[in-house]
Amino acid sequence: MQARRLTKRFGEFTAVDAVDFDIHVGEAFGFLGANGAGKTSTMRMIACLSPISGGTLQVLGLDPMREGPQIRSRIGLVPQDDTLDLELTVRDNLYLYGRYFGLPKKQLRERVDELLEFARLTERADERVDPLSGGMRRRLTIARALVSSPSLVILDEPTTGLDPQARHLLWDRLYRLKREGVTLVITTHYMDEAEQLCDRLVVMDAGRIAAAGSPRELIEQWSTREVVELRFEAEGHQVHGDRLADLAERVEVLPDRLLLYTDEGDATLDAVRSRGASPIAALVRRSTLEDVFLHLTGRSLVD
């Protein structure tokens, strides 16, 4: 998949502003960004749901503007909203979706059984979707996207709103897809999700790509090895930030804490203490994509 100066405008508003990216077969590629960064718009163009406003885009070597149905027959989409029919059973939801692809009935019935197994929903197969938990519905939506055995699966915020256990189960299913050679395109505003799942990713901000690379490369390029997090009494963060600025390569002042970017966290923390600063809580940790994002955009990902 290849995008060059890909652009999406809604009237005056430019949601995606001339972005370039390449996605290779078999990799897990992420779009990381806050809400409104243009991730979903990009995703919808890739899935041929939304016409492009400018630039060029190729998906599976085809042109989304002219060959939408052919492309969509080879991709699986997991939209942000589940779009499941709550009145119908789990099985019927899978079955009907397969029929939209024109899969023959007999082949489809076998496929549905496999997918129920994959989504761990075999026991709920003949119940209505309505009472299912968010995690179950999400797994069903993913199973549904796989009904046509796509070589590319697009997931828009796959774990938003799920509890940690449901997320891990879902990630585990996605790992399996990846190992079986399915190309995954994932949007997320969770940096841990991007770090866990994505081989490469782009950080999007205000419709543009702020940085691109593997999670490790991004952290090496845009952050230090370690971070010292300090929490002080209310309102004191800006003052302490100014006083401690020279101890770290970079300082970020957040409403509830102070981040000191440094390669030697423990040494920096000792230096902080020897200055007589007494945070109510202190923590040394490794840099994450969250720090990369903070550096690139000046904002944290999840408010």
């Binding site: 939209y100 055995s149 866990q196």
Partner: protein
């Protein structure tokens, strides 16, 4: 956080493991139609009252009860036939309109907003026109079912004097279709279901009452009569009544049919535009 890789022996979902894809030859719009068919199989009981019970109740209460009073006076105004004979084909057309309009409001909103079934379809090879035609075809199926049942009930009430009545079936379906397509076009532009109440109150209900369904439009004062004769339901009522009573009436009938066909075709064109505007952004 660490993850244990799952065993490899579980269900195989890789693309290359699946047998080469065979696609069925069913046209894309019919695949969308199939959704409604399956959904209806699960929920058909709810529609029993409107489809089966209403015609019986209406014909019994108004046709037989009220008709008895009217027939004791003069039935000249209704063409010299028993009132029940006059009323039944009017109700047939009126019911076709109601089902056609009704099924084109809330279910369209459900497809767009409540259940988002349209969007589920659009993520597959189906196109906007497939989604539209599949749903429209389903609505016409519902109209056909209701019209068929209504005609059967009419026969049971001995209100079908002519074999022409067979042709009243497509006429009723055409009446429902003429309302369905434009209402679908309208519904796809709405953000809430509030407008549907307005459509009913100021559109469907007055049409039902004043289009010659319950009494001949000749009973209306002059200028209202002209308006009544121009309404779409009047065309459907006249067409159905002529056929059921065995007086199809040549050019008039053709005029009614063309009116309804044009309304249907215009509605389809409008719906193509409004569906595309709403669903592709």
């Amino acid at each position: 956080m660490t993850f244990t890789p799952p065993p490899r022996d579980a269900a195989n979902v890789s693309p290359d493991a699946a047998s080469p894809q065979r696609r069925s030859r069913v046209s894309p719009a019919l695949r969308a139609y199939q959704y409604n068919l399956l959904a209806y199989k699960r929920t058909w009981r709810g529609s029993l009252t409107t489809t089966f019970l209403y015609p019986v109740l209406y014909l019994a209460a108004i046709g037989v009860g009220l008709g008895h009073l009217i027939d004791h006076g003069s039935n000249k105004a209704v063409g010299g036939v028993p009132y029940l004979w006059f009323l039944a084909p009017g109700l047939l057309a009126g019911t076709a309109m109601q089902i056609g309009a009704n099924e084109s409001t809330f279910p369209v909103m459900a497809g767009i907003k409540w259940l988002k079934t349209y969007f589920a379809m659009l993520a597959t090879p189906l196109e906007v026109t497939d989604v539209l035609y599949g749903h429209l075809l389903w609505i016409l199926t519902r109209v056909a079912l209701a019209s068929g049942v209504f005609l059967a009930v009419m026969t049971a009430f001995h209100t079908v004097p002519s074999a022409w009545a067979v042709a009243a079936f497509p006429a009723a379906v055409l009446t429902g279709a003429a309302f369905s397509a434009p209402v679908m076009a309208f519904s796809a532009t709405r953000e809430t279901d509030q407008s549907f109440v307005v459509l009913y109150r100021f559109g469907i209900v007055p049409l039902f009452l004043f289009s010659g369904t319950f009494f001949p439009v000749t009973q209306l004062p002059g200028w209202l009569q002209v308006i009544a004769r121009c309404t779409p339901l009047y065309q459907g009522v006249s067409l159905c009544r002529g056929l059921v009573l065995g007086r199809p009436g040549g050019w008039d009938a053709l005029g009614h049919a063309v009116y309804l066909l044009v309304m249907f075709a215009g509605g389809v064109l409008a719906a193509r535009v409004s569906y595309r505007r709403r669903l592709v952004q």
